[in-house]
Amino acid sequence: MTKQADLKLNVHGRVLVAAPSGELDHYKAERLRAQIDSTFEKSSCRHILLDMGGVSFMDSSGIGMIIGRYKKTELSGGRIVIANMSEPISRLFDVSGLSKIVSRAESAGMAMHMLGGSFDE
């Protein structure tokens, strides 16, 4: 059982970059949020950049996970931006109304720009 390999976490200044991969269902979402929160709390990050490029499947468990991280960044005066969403995940965003509250970007670079950070940090 892989425990860490399905999520890459990197801190760039005030931005925590989280790049999950594989299928994001309830089982996986529970583990992702634990790992993201743990790193977020230990760091001095305010923002989360969620790079969905490696996610091949997502159901409403992923929506719940994203809403939770949205609230978390809001509490620390930050934001969350979602990058590289596939077409099916975009549809799920629209169905759930999440697209009204969470910003999205075409690429991780654009998302980083929206958060005022840099991958060089």
């Binding site: 529970e30 583990r31 634990a34 743990s38 499947f57 159901d59 409403s60 719940g64 169905v95 109304g97």
Partner: protein
């Protein structure tokens, strides 16, 4: 006897949800569905099976043992901390059938049942906010499938019947 009928039974653990999606995709494959149709069916099945496990049988993964996010690392070390108290005979049954390109998938559990089906159907309604459930499960099923029928008896279990016509790439 219906030739295209498959009954799948999985024990009520969240790590088994992925198997139900794999079987759903394999079941509809002979109907030559579009990639979009396969995704919609996989998503709806994933929602229904997740509900059966975490609501029907109240199995929530390790979250309930976690307490707080900062204890996450510890929780991850004990990967097998999933709640086993719900009993080893808790199964989710998924029955796939197809007729004239209409796929019917029934997801059945013998769990606690749903007190109020109308509330459960409402967007954003969840009985488990602590698990960060979005409350969008039935809304997603309804928007991705042609019909979603829910029947439930408190204390007896729940059945969710999902149907969808597979148009495929030709139309």
């Amino acid at each position: 006897m219906n030739k295209s009928l498959i009954k799948l039974e999985i024990s009520a653990f969240t790590e088994n949800i992925s198997i139900s999606r794999v079987v759903a995709a394999a079941f509809v494959a002979p109907l030559d569905p579009t990639v979009e149709e396969v995704t919609e069916i996989k998503t709806a099945v994933s929602e229904a099976v997740t509900n059966a496990i975490i609501h029907g049988y109240a199995r929530q993964g390790y979250a309930e043992h976690r307490g707080h996010a900062s204890e996450a690392t510890h929780a991850l070390e004990s990967e097998n901390s999933e709640n086993n108290e719900a009993g080893d005979n808790d199964f989710v049954q998924i029955i796939f059938s197809a007729e004239n390109r209409v796929v019917t998938i029934e997801v059945r559990d013998s769990g606690v049942g749903i007190e109020n089906i109308e509330s459960a159907r409402e967007p954003l309604f969840t009985t488990k906010p602590e698990l960060e459930r979005s409350g969008m499960g039935f809304s997603v099923m309804e928007s991705f499938m042609d019909s979603v029928e829910i029947s439930s008896l408190p204390g007896e279990g729940t059945s969710v019947v999902l149907t969808k016509k597979i148009n495929g790439a030709q139309q």
